[in-house]
């Protein structure tokens, strides 16, 4: 952070600390508390929806879990003499409420993992609706429509906190939530989250377990909602299902989108504006929703990416102001002594319905060699790559690395085994910078999980610095150093292909599978690609290259395998393959070959 920003932040904190003393009466203090509480929930939703791209319309229910848990627990514990004396039941309730909401979040993650887009929205809506209805119907436990009154007032020992004191408790939690969000999204774990929003396959291909990341982020997001709900319960002293309706969930999503999804301050600004606006409109009650609706529409016209989205967008530099640097020949430390493995494909068969995509295919790829796999469209090349990376499972046959059979059930399994890949249709992470793309690639070598990101200290920082340094070398290796901080989405097509290769290299692969890396490239870009492939071989990486571009194949390959209709029809050196009559027939047809 720059000095000016730290100064502004310090001023804001001082103003917030002084606020209750300055503000007249309790009304404004009360409003501030509500803004902080909603802000905490919105921050949680922002991590989930804004950064990780998982839209939720069920956060009010998670808030309800926190609120009802602490209300019921602290009320039940209140008569116990120990708690009566210390007032600890309230703080225990808040902690347990937060944990309970987190558990519900983990529960919600299970069905939510399998669905996306509007289908995910529906799962969260249904979840919220079920919780809401249970609160209404299970009256012996939740008090039904009437809710729970007499929620214990917050106190420390025998000192009951008045609203201007409770303000500081909530403010502290709010600042902690904000700091937690900052730490999380600027960590390597946060990078994985943001990458997942754009391509789950892309992050899985470097060994990230998408399942675990999603459960973690749902759980954390729910904990924020639960904390907000618990703080809310002790503020209001009375809660009912009405506080946690579907509309409240909509409100939180609106707050995140309004302020700017995936920005650090967006959720706070959204929560503040959307909470305070209706209060200011108290005087013309009948037209409240109209003003609200028109206000939202006008804001959307002017700032389609939310308030903070617009501010950040203005500061973003474009590609042209970046100086071009010299290309480097030095092999990066990270892969300089790569231990390329021997990859064996043993009798693999795979069919899709009636179509036999691969029939008894065996290929042996020598360690440290460039092995090309060619064949006409539909020959089964990509299917084979997908089997080698665990994206598909073979019907029969096996894959072995250095003699040991691999069990590949997912992309991340393959990545963990040391098999990296690029994709025929590029799978990059949208606006993330080139450097960030490669940083995500280090996932398998990173010790930082979600907890590490939240609490980690110097070890965390030194790891990030180490990986960043290695990432820069990799980027330089593929010749993209002048675009290091540029959003990958702004790069030329050929450069984006190279970003994918740099990301795959961050895995420190024993085997690298390139699926048609030259597709759509111009001659100059293909030459640069060939150069990268040759230098990778010099580092010792085993490469399997699927390509159509014969010039490239002949110039870089040590060996070529030809597939046609799912079967190996030829294998040999580039010179031999070019003369092989079966290959010529497969590509050009019989009559031409005869002529």
């Amino acid at each position: 952070m720059s000095r000016a920003r730290i100064g502004i932040a310090a001023l804001v904190v001082i103003a917030l600390i002084a606020a209750p003393a300055v503000l007249p009466g309790t009304y404004y203090t009360y409003l501030a508390i509500i803004v902080f509480i909603y802000g905490i929930v919105a921050i949680g939703l922002n991590i989930l929806a804004g950064y990780a791209g998982q839209l939720s319309l069920g956060h009010a229910a998670l808030m309800a879990v926190g609120a009802y848990t602490t209300a019921l627990l602290s009320k039940a514990l209140a008569p116990v003499p120990f708690f009566t004396a210390t007032g600890l039941h309230i703080w225990l309730g808040i902690v347990v409420g937060t944990v309970a909401a987190a558990l519900f979040g983990a529960l919600l993650a299970i069905p939510a993992l399998r669905v996306r887009g509007p289908y995910l929205a529906m799962v969260t809506i249904a979840f919220g609706w079920v919780i809401f209805k249970i609160l209404q119907e299970w009256s012996s436990f939740t008090g039904g429509d009437l809710g729970i009154s007499g929620v214990p007032k917050p106190r420390i020992a025998s000192l009951t906190l008045i609203i201007k004191q409770y303000y500081y408790v909530v403010l502290a939690m709010f600042i902690i939530a904000l700091a937690a969000q900052y730490r999380l999204v600027t960590s390597q774990f946060g990078l994985r989250l943001r990458a997942m929003k754009y391509s789950e396959i892309g992050v899985a291909s470097v060994g990230v377990n998408v399942f675990r990341v999603k459960v973690a982020v749902f759980t954390l997001s729910a904990a924020f909602a639960g904390l907000g709900g618990a703080l809310f319960a002790h503020q209001q002293n009375y809660i009912s299902p009405d506080n946690f309706q579907f509309f409240s969930s909509v409100f939180f999503l609106l707050a995140v989108l309004f302020g700017g999804a995936g920005t650090l301050l967006g959720p706070i600004i959204g929560a503040a504006v959307l909470t305070l606006l209706p209060e200011m409109l108290h005087d013309f009650d009948t037209y409240r929703l109209i003003v609200y609706g028109v206000f939202i529409l006008i804001t959307l016209y002017l700032l389609p990416n939310g308030v903070m989205g617009a501010l950040e967008g203005r500061g973003r530099k474009t590609l042209t102001d970046r100086p071009a640097g010299a290309s480097a020949e030095v092999a990066p430390r990270w892969i300089a002594k790569a231990e390329g493995a021997m990859l064996e494909v043993r009798n693999i068969s795979r069919s899709f319905g009636g179509l036999q995509a691969l029939r008894n295919v065996s290929v042996q790829i020598a360690p440290g060699s460039v092995h090309a796999l060619i064949g006409p469209n539909g020959a089964g090349k990509t299917t084979l790559i997908n089997i080698l990376t665990g994206f598909y499972q073979a019907d029969s046959g096996e894959v072995a690395m250095d003699g040991a059979v691999l069990h590949l059930r997912s992309l991340s399994d393959a990545a963990l085994a040391g098999i990296a890949r690029t994709f025929q249709t590029i799978k990059l992470f949208g606006d993330l910078a080139v450097l960030d793309h490669v940083m995500v690639g280090f996932a398998r070598h990173s010790q930082v999980g979600i907890l590490g990101a939240l609490v980690g200290g110097s070890r965390l920082r030194s790891e990030a610095e180490r990986h960043a340094a290695d990432a820069r070398q990799l980027i330089q290796f593929v010749g993209l150093h002048q675009f290091e901080n540029a959003p990958a989405s702004q790069l030329a097509y050929g450069h984006r292909r190279l970003v994918e290769i740099a990301r795959a290299l961050a895995l420190r692969p024993k085997v690298l599978l390139l699926d048609e890396p030259a597709a759509g490239l111009v001659a100059q870009e293909i030459e640069a690609l060939a150069d990268v492939i040759r230098r990778l071989r010099d580092c010792g990486v085993t490469i399997l290259l699927v390509e159509h571009h014969m010039d490239l194949i002949v110039s870089v390959s040590d060996r070529i395998t030809v597939l046609d209709y799912g079967e190996v029809i030829a294998e040999g050196s580039p010179a031999a393959i070019q003369k092989d009559p079966r290959v010529v027939t497969a590509y050009l047809g019989k009559s031409l070959a005869a002529a």
């Binding site: 289908y119 529906m122 799962v123 249904a126 119907e137 609706g293 529409l297 959307l300 389609p304 699926d515």
Partner: protein, 291 residues
């Protein structure tokens, strides 16, 4: 057995209403990848207009229906121009907010024009139950089923047999290619939004004699219809009618055998389970990211 049939049938009419609304979500999603999140409010608007026309002005229900449909289409076009079109290119989730903002406007306008007190709209048909042996249904319920059947058959024919319908499907498949083929994609997008609003208006017209007319009447209907559209699969209009009827029957059964309070808890829990096993909906096809 008779009780079983009776309670199942009692829910089916409501299910047909869900289906009518739900197909509106599908329409806009297919052509523009957006969902009108305020569709329930449009149902309410249809209901309130019906209240004014039929009850307050005493206009013949058939003529009223035509007026309602025309008004809804027109307002739908305006709403599309104001709240969807400007954001189509943004490629973000802004439409979630903008369609909801229009929904807020509709609710507030309804409260100002019609007030918050629920009003009763008498049935357009007689209140004498139609008897099929031991099973009884209200004529209004039968009418809903008939109308829903007609609408879905007409939609099906429209999409499969007419050139305009095929243009809709082409846009659903790929807007860019459709433009190259000379289809006015812009018109189709606006038309699908307005069409969804008209369907919502029809649903409001049909349902209002069974419920009460009030500004909040559409919220839960819209939500459940959204659930139906998702459960069936947004790209599967035929499945949407089936799921609507099925869910309506299920609601009737739960209310009949247990009690109404537990209806939504069971119903929505079931939906989560269904989506767990069929993430693209019961009639949807997998659209996974491919390598």
């Amino acid at each position: 057995m008779y009780f079983f049939l009776q309670v199942a049938l009692s829910g089916i009419a409501t299910g047909a209403i869900y289906g009518l609304i739900a197909v509106g979500y599908s329409l806009t999603f297919l052509t523009t990848r957006i969902l009108n999140f305020a569709l329930g409010m449009w149902v309410m608007l249809g209901g309130m207009l019906t209240l004014s026309l039929v009850v307050r002005l005493g206009i013949n229900p058939a003529i009223s229906l035509v007026v309602v449909l025309a008004a809804m289409t027109l307002l739908g076009l305006v709403a599309e121009r104001v709240s969807v079109f400007p954001f189509l290119r943004a490629g973000s989730d802004v439409w979630v907010m903008s369609t909801l903002a229009v929904g807020f406007l509709l609710i507030d306008f309804a409260e100002i024009i019609w007030g918050r007190t629920p009003a009763k709209v008498p049935g357009f048909l007689s209140n004498q139950p139609v008897r099929l042996g031991p099973i009884a249904m209200l004529p209004q319920q039968v009418a809903i089923l008939v109308v829903a059947a007609i609408v879905f058959v007409a939609l099906d024919l429209f999409f499969r047999r007419t050139l305009l319908g095929k243009a809709f499907r082409a846009v659903a498949h790929s807007g860019e290619v459709s433009t190259l083929m000379g289809i006015n994609v812009r018109r189709i997008q606006a038309g699908s939004f307005a069409g969804a609003c008209a369907l919502a208006g029809l649903a409001g017209f049909m349902v209002v004699p069974l419920t009460l007319a009030e500004p909040q009447m559409g919220t839960v209907l819209g939500l459940k219809a959204f659930a139906i559209a998702i459960i069936a699969g947004l790209a599967a209009p035929r499945g949407i009618l089936l799921c609507g009827l099925g869910y309506g029957a299920l609601e009737g059964l739960i209310s009949g055998y247990f009690y109404t309070g537990i209806r939504d808890i069971l119903g929505f829990s079931l939906m989560i389970v269904v989506l767990y096993f069929k993430p693209e909906g019961l009639f949807g096809h997998p659209q996974e990211e491919r390598a």
